[in-house]
């Protein structure tokens, strides 16, 4: 493992890869600072750039955008009281209160240091967990891949949005979209309606750019088009005092562990981890009454957790080839357009990529700490840019980016249709993340189901004869039933009350 990490560091220190991690962290911080533009849409938008960079540098850049956005998100939460990123929602509670009390510098510094500490804990976890998991996954067959994919979709649906039924519906829609195009086994086109463009099915990149890029912009137009008022912070204020640091250290470490573990679970891990960490800190605090009024633990814990969660989210992608969150789905899409098939064999077939991405995250976290501490004022001033200036530019770049993936206008139309669809989905509280994951995992689910049936000679009970497959079935059943039971018991309690 140490040998692999050294090899990765050697790769990550290559000039092209260093440039990629720098671009990724810089763009990620800007995306994190700007409300209304998320990392998933930006990662999809910059996919054509990976053609010029190559797969390793491309993945390093895209991963940098993802974890960089978690750093930047806290700046807007603390200084403007508007979360730059969904994962920084909870930071508004205490971060902005600290800023109002003249402690913006301390809050920003603690968020940046916490992100660095927890980001490093997360990458350590990734370094330790991903290789053995990839080794274990070499024994996986089609039945295990089918059930692990289904389990991922079920867990994501349980954790996305307010309604599980709506999320399940969207996950099913995603898998349905994946059935459009050529049947991988018989070679016969399905649901193509006679259009040769649909023979290839729906490409993942334009769909993601539509659902996350265009739809986000249209939603932002519906909400606010004025610039935000930003609290000023001076460079000399960016030093937390000894008491601030003493109170923050344990929440940072706890946030790192909590974030990494939550990151392993399919779903909006960065968002969930920040809420879980906040709840943990409040629960164990000697002064829970301070929470919501500017408790530094309420900034240190969640901001650390959301960074560690990104490293946790990379474990299933790099070890199993399964993306369980929209940003990792974009990373998967990025690998696949370069002909790299992620999965248990990635570590053997492309060690430069596997270890290069992991090692680059150590460098990326250091770059982000440097970027986010002295330059916090510069990044905060970006928030003052009016959406009327930012959004049209991003919209045009989405169109050009979608065209650039295959040099095809068909992809641009697909992006547009899914952008409009995504806008209405948001209005009616249908989450777009399960659609994207359903689309990404759909082909794998269908292929592994059909291969399993052939292997088991049509005996559906054969799934139970494999211990790992049986365990995954039980977990999938629990994932389906537990939320239902919880909801039913809550409903009963309400009726009795």
């Amino acid at each position: 493992m140490l040998e692999g990490l050294c090899y990765g560091l050697q790769n990550a220190l290559d000039l092209r890869n260093l440039l990629a991690v720098g671009i990724g962290c810089f763009v990620g911080t800007i995306v994190g600072v700007l409300p209304g533009i998320g990392p998933t849409g930006t990662m999809a938008l910059l996919l054509p750039l990976t053609f010029a960079l190559g797969p390793t540098a491309g993945m390093i850049m895209l991963a940098g955008i993802w974890y960089g956005a978690q750093y930047g998100g806290s700046t807007t939460s603390i200084l403007v009281n508007v979360p730059g990123e969904a994962a920084s929602v909870v930071t508004c509670l205490d971060g902005h209160q600290m800023a109002r009390k003249g402690k913006a510098g301390a809050a920003l510094a603690v968020a940046a240091i916490g992100s660095f500490v927890a980001g490093t804990i997360g990458v350590l976890g990734l370094t330790l967990f991903a290789p053995p998991l990839a080794n274990a996954a070499l024994d996986f067959g089609p039945p295990e891949f089918f059930w692990i994919g289904l389990l991922g979709l079920l867990l994501l649906s349980n954790l996305s949005g307010k309604s599980t039924v709506k999320a399940l519906l969207m996950a099913t829609l995603g898998v349905m979209l994946a059935t459009v195009g050529m049947d991988p086994i018989s070679g016969r086109p399905r649901f193509s309606m006679g259009s040769s463009s649909l023979f290839g099915g729906f490409e993942f990149v334009p769909v993601t750019m539509g659902l996350f890029g265009v739809a986000e912009i249209l939603s932002s137009c519906a909400e606010r088009l004025e610039s935000w008022e930003v609290l000023k912070v001076r460079f000399r204020d960016l030093y937390p005092n000894r008491e601030d640091l003493r109170r923050s250290l344990a929440p940072m470490l706890r946030g790192g562990v909590v974030g990494f573990l939550v990151g392993l679970i399919p779903g909006p891990a960065a968002v969930m981890s920040s809420f879980v960490s906040y709840a943990v800190e409040r629960k164990i605090s000697r002064h829970p009454e301070e929470f919501g009024r500017g408790a530094i633990e309420g900034v240190a814990g969640p901001e650390s957790a959301n960074n560690a969660a990104t490293a946790g989210g990379l474990v299933p992608l790099l070890a199993l080839g399964l993306p369980f969150a929209p940003p990792t789905a974009v990373l998967l899409g990025g690998l696949m357009i370069h002909g790299v098939v992620p999965g248990p064999l990635l570590i053997q077939e492309h060690p430069e990529l596997f270890w290069g991405v992991i090692a680059s995250m150590y460098i990326g976290n250091t770059i982000l700490l440097i970027l986010n501490l002295p330059l916090v004022g510069v990044f905060a001033s970006i928030t003052r840019l009016r959406p009327a200036i930012v959004l049209p530019v991003v919209l045009a770049l989405c169109v050009i980016g979608a065209y650039g993936v295959n040099n095809s206008m068909y992809d641009v139309w697909v992006m547009l249709v899914f952008g409009i669809l995504g806008f209405f989905m948001r209005r009616f509280e249908f989450e777009p993340a399960p659609v994207v994951l359903g689309l990404v995992l759909g082909r794998m689910l269908e292929n592994s189901l059909r291969q399993s049936m052939v292997i088991m000679e049509g005996n559906i009970w054969g799934f139970w004869s494999r211990p790992l497959s049986a365990t995954l079935i039980i977990l999938a059943i629990l994932a389906l039933l537990v939320p239902l039971i919880i909801r039913l018991s809550a409903y009963r309690k309400r009726r009795i009350a």
Partner: protein, 156 residues
């Protein structure tokens, strides 16, 4: 948002699910030991129809038991005018790329989108459009070698 619009949307989703299921019946489901191209689509169609039907039922009963939204809530709900304007511009923009080419169509799209989003005057939207077109040309055409459409009007 349990209202009439949500009920209509859910009904539309249910009808789409039924359409997908009916279309899936064209493909053979094969046998259990050699599943055909129609097996997965049929399973998905059934799941989609059941889920949307349950949503429709929940929505129907929920709507009956919930009070109508207050005027304050209605005021808070986001406006549709600007997103609709931007959507129309976006459709026209994409349709205009093949005949007008990327430079002119992008310039016009950014100009009008910025104006509809409230960027006052003429100078700022023109500068923004010119700057974006120049940046996109530099990044995509010169650096990434993406052959952006020149446009039929210019002989492309």
């Amino acid at each position: 948002m349990r209202n009439k619009a949500e009920g209509i949307v859910t009904l539309f989703i249910l009808i789409c699910g039924l359409g997908y299921f009916l279309a899936a019946t064209q493909y053979s489901i094969g046998k259990l030991d050699s599943p055909g191209a129609g097996l997965m689509p049929r399973l998905l169609g059934i799941a989609f129809v059941l889920l949307s039907a349950s949503l429709l039922v929940t929505n129907w009963f929920g709507r009956r038991s919930e009070p109508p939204p207050s005027p304050a809530h209605r005021e808070r709900s986001p406006k549709l005018k600007t997103p609709l304007q931007v959507t129309v511009i976006l459709i026209l923009y994409v349709a205009a790329i093949p005949p007008l080419g990327f430079i002119l169509s992008t310039f016009l799209a950014i100009f009008f989108t910025a104006r509809f989003m409230g960027l006052e005057g003429w100078r700022k939207p023109v500068l923004l459009s010119l700057g974006t077109v120049a940046f996109a040309h530099l990044l995509f055409v010169l650096l990434l070698d993406v052959p952006l459409p020149v446009g039929a009007l210019w002989g492309g």
